[in-house]
Structure formats: C-alpha cells, structure tokens
Amino acid sequence: MMPRITMDEVLRVAHLARLEFDDTEIEVFTYHLGEILDYIGKLNELDTTDVPPTSHVLPVCNVIKTDKAWDSYAREVVLENAPSAEEGHFKVPKVID
C-alpha cells in the first residue's frame, strides 16, 4: 500500500492544477484525497500484468476530416464571451516584463 498523500504533495498538485487553497481547505482536501486514494488502492488486489489497457471502448482510430476550409465564427462573436478583450484580441495580465 502506498503511503498516504501528504499536505506538501497536495500543495504541489494544486500548483500543477493551477488551484490554490487556504490552510483549512488544504487540511480537508488532504484528508479526503487520502481516503479516496486508499479506496482506489483496492485495484492493487488485482494482478493486471498481462492485461492490455482500455483507453477507449470503441474500435476507432485516426478519424480524419476532409481537408476543406469552412467559415468559422466572426472575431467579435468569439470575443463576446471574453472577460477582457481589446483591439480584437483576448487581453491577459502582463506575461513578459
């Protein structure tokens, strides 16, 4: 059985997922994630050495569209939902100093 997930690991994962938590939340999340992962550990009861993985239930692969251009949405229509836009672009906080 794997050791329980620690608070530091939860903080590391939170950064990867671009989430942040306050101290109380981190404690609750660490506890619940630990419980869920313990339950998931149940899968180790099964020997799956020679079992192929299933990523998808359908026997389809490489679905290819015809190489044909079609009309997309007008720029202003797409920008209508943007929280911040300027001069026809999405606007974000400064990235490069």
Binding site: R18, E25, Y39, I40, P52, P53, A82, P83, P93
Partner: protein
C-alpha cells in the same frame, strides 16, 4: 385538461388531431413551472418568450397542414451543459455563470430541426460531478417525491422536472450514471445510449471516454422518440460512430419471449436497501412471467468499478477543465498580480469544492511518478470490467439489475463524505466503463414512498433490445403512471 401531465406522444396525437395547439401546451407547462419550480428548483434558465414564439410558429404550420417532424411543438428542456446558441449555458458553475454559447450543440440543433419548443436549462451538479445535484453553484434541486431529499444527480434538475411535470422531455448526460440514477430516484425513464451513438459536439466535456447524452422522459415511448431525434453520426464529434441508426419506435413491442435476461449476483450488494431489492426482484419475476428466460450471470470485477472510475474520470476531467483559465470565456478573478496568479485565483474562485477535488485527484493520478500506479492500472482494470460484460453477453441478451442501491437520500446526508457519495453510483458506473447502453425505468416504490429504478443494460449498439424489454415491462405494469403529489 392539465396538458403538462401528458407525455410527448400523447400531446403529439392531440396536436395532430387539432384538439390542442402547441401554444396551449407550452403555456400549460410554463404555468406548471411557475407553480412548482419554487419548490423543486429544477430550472437554471426558463426562456418563456422564445418558447411561446417557437410554439406559435409550429401552430401556423399545423394550421396550414405542413408536414412536421414527430416532436414538433413539444416542449423540451436541456441539462445546462448542452450548448444552446444565445441561451446561457452555465454547467451550474460560477466559472460559466455568464457564458452564452455562440453555437448550438449537435443535439440542440437536431431538436431544433424537429421544431421542438425550447423551455429552458436544467440544474445539475457543477460540471456533472456529483450524484445529488447538491454540487450546483446556484441551488439544491429537490426530489418531487419528498422535498427533503435529493433528486439524484448529476442530471437532477432534468429528472425532478420530468417527475414534477415541469417538462415533457429532457436531455441529460451520463458519465457514471448521471441520467439513470436521478431517473431511478425520481421515478421516471432515463437512458444512456451506447458510447458513440450520440454526438457530444457542444456538450461541455467532463470525462471524454465516458460521457454520453441521453433522454429523460415520462415513459419508454417518449424515450424512443427522443433517441430517434438525437442519435447518429456527426463529423463534428470524432467519437460518434458511423453506423446506421434504427427506428427505435420499432422496438416498442410487447414481446420478450425469445429473450435471455441475465441477473448479476454482484449487483445485489451489501448495504442495499431491502425495499429496493424487493421491488427489483419482483420486476425480474414479472419479466420471467412475461416469457423471458432469467439466468444468473457473473460480473466478477464489478466491485472494482468505482475505484477504476475515480481514476479515469477525474484524470480526463483534469485535462478537460484546464480550458477554464479566465482568458477566452467565463469568469475571471480581479486583482491578480500576474498570469499564473490570475489562473489560480480564477479557477479557485470559479470552481466549487467537488470540481476542485476531482481536478486534484486527476492531476495527481496523471502526475510524474504516479501514472503507472493509478491511470494505467485503472485502464487495465477497465479492460477486465469490459471483458466481464463481453462474457456475460455471450449467454444473455440484456442484463437486469437495480439502478441505485438505495432510494433518494436526505439533502446534506452525504455532502461531507465524498467517498460515500461516490459509492452511490456503484451500479451505474460499470456500463459507462464498458460503453454500454442502459436504461432506468420505474419499478415501484419503497415503504417510504420513494421510487425504485430497474436498470436494463444491453450489448453495444443494441438499444433496441433494451427498449423492447423496458417497453414490455412498462406496458404490463403501472409504475410509470405514478406521480408525486408535490404537497
């Protein structure tokens, strides 16, 4: 006459006979929504004016004797994760609270082609993550059979609206039971078609290898009508399958004498409510009485389904929900220092705690060093679960089991215990992992007067046998006619 109480096919017959108009139907259902929705809180958005305008157009066509599709003039409501052009599509999340899609989902377009009347958008667990609709950022939907109880989830708004006659037909989505479980708990019909049968273009993605759109209706006939409207290949969804779609109304026949029905021992689990088991066993006896051959089958890896699902679904969700970054659409947090800080604050304020929990779980399972132990392992167990079904279906035509191990539970009962909440989908998750079609139909009430659902699971792309079994049972029982009193 209380038109809102009728099914789509009954309303269709009256419309075509010239007894009623689509405007009358629409007004009747809108009045019903006004009367009961303050109690059940099923709707996030009601588009009254649009609905009446669409109904008026259908009435003109009817008057002129123009040819019309079957569902023309019938009010339909959609779970609020199906994109509707010009109508807010929120996923019951703060992060999409003000999102107005510039396009229609393929299923919404197909319903428009049918000239349905769009009534509105239905509440759900945020991003379809939940089994009780308590994870909506906006409100808790209540079970019309007992307002102190949950309607199930995540399509809880859809199931509650149908049960309360506040919608005629609805579409939901089912990733781990999110159509079938609320349908069972609200005493209505809900079906998840085979993975690949219905286009997901315009369905806000949760777990892409599992998500499937399907109908929630008052009876099996309406379910077949809705399936006819929404199934079929779509070049906009590369996972939609290019197979001919049968006319599902041809399956509405009372004949199961040639059928072999498998009963999986593993689905009558410890902790199942005795009333639920009793109703389901009675239903199985009824099916046997109607001529089907009932045999025991084994699905030995069933007990690993929930653990498998809670790796695969969160892993896929963590990737799908990466798009909510406060840049292109949706909520953006104010007062942030830089881009990364903006992402973090936007996502932390925009998502509710269950969504964050699943993103965290999925990110962890996919992170460097853990991939093989969790994600790859889960994919391998998924193979075993699928093989269980393949073997069972060599002996039987359909598998029959309970939909949920319990009736509707109390609001708040499981909110602080995520694992217990996850386990409420224990009987519906396997069909998603294997991509199989499944339906839940009402099969009676518990002693507490709560609905029990009978689940029928079929072979891939064999919705027809599932529907035939469901229809035969329904036509020989009265459970689907029972409605809550909503006192």
């Amino acid at each position: 006459m209380e038109l809102f109480r009728l099914t789509a096919h009954e309303l269709h017959d009256k419309l075509r006979a010239g007894e009623i108009t689509s405007v009358e139907i629409t007004q009747s259902v809108l009045e019903r929504i006004n009367a009961v929705d303050s109690k059940i809180q099923a709707y996030v958005t009601v588009v009254e004016e649009l609905a009446l305008e669409q109904a008026r157009i259908v009435d003109v066509h009817l008057r002129d004797g123009d040819p019309l599709p079957l569902l023309a003039g019938i009010p339909v409501s959609l779970k609020d994760l199906i994109c509707t052009k010009g109508i807010p599509t929120t996923c019951s999340s703060r992060i999409l609270q003000d999102f107005v899609p510039p396009y229609d989902a393929t299923v919404a377009q197909k319903l428009n082609d049918q000239q349905i009347v769009m009534l509105g958008k239905l509440n759900m667990d945020e991003f379809a993550m939940g089994s009780s609709t308590e994870n909506s950022a906006f409100m808790v939907t209540r079970n019309p059979w007992d307002l102190e109880r949950i309607p199930g989830g995540s399509s809880g708004g859809a199931a509650a609206a149908i049960a309360a006659d506040a919608a005629i037909c609805a579409l939901g989505s089912d990733t781990g039971g999110s159509i079938r479980q609320p349908a069972a708990l609200c005493g209505i019909v809900g079906m998840k078609p085979t993975y690949g049968r219905v286009s997901r273009y315009g369905l806000v993605a949760f777990a892409s290898s599992l998500d499937q759109i399907g109908p929630l209706t008052k009876d099996v006939t309406d379910c077949a009508w809705m399936l006819n409207a929404i199934c079929g290949h779509d070049p906009m969804d590369s996972t939609s399958v290019n197979l001919p779609v049968p006319d599902f109304t041809q399956s509405l026949v009372q004949d199961i004498e040639d059928l072999r029905i498998g009963i999986p021992d593993e689905y009558f689990i410890e902790g199942m409510e005795s009333d639920v088991e009793r109703r389901v066993r009675e239903a199985i006896a009824e099916l046997e009485g109607l001529g089907a051959q009932v045999v025991r089958v084994s699905l030995p890896h069933s007990e690993y389904a929930v653990a498998t699902y809670y790796i695969i679904a969160p892993a896929e969700a963590s990737a799908n929900l990466a798009r909510y970054d406060g840049v292109r659409y949706g909520f953006r947090a104010e007062e942030t220092t830089d881009l990364i800080d903006m992402y973090k604050k936007t996502r932390s304020k925009g998502f509710g705690s269950e969504v964050k929990r699943r993103i965290m779980l999925g990110t962890y399972a996919l992170s460097s060093g853990f991939y093989d132990a969790y994600y790859l392992k889960a994919q391998k167990v998924r193979t075993l679960i699928k093989q269980d079904f393949d073997e069972a279906f060599e002996q039987v035509d359909v598998i029959v089991a309970p939909t949920s191990p319990t009736g509707a539970f109390k609001i708040g009962e499981k909110v602080d215990d995520p694992l217990q909440m996850y386990l409420s989908d224990i009987l519906t998750i396997p069909a998603n992992l294997a991509g199989l079609p499944g339906i839940s139909i009402p099969c009676g009430l518990t002693l507490q007067n709560l609905p029990v659902g009978l689940q029928i699971v079929g072979k891939p792309f064999d919705e027809e046998t599932v529907l035939r079994t469901a229809y035969t049972y329904e036509q020989n029982t009265d459970h689907h006619k029972q409605r809550p009193t909503l006192e």
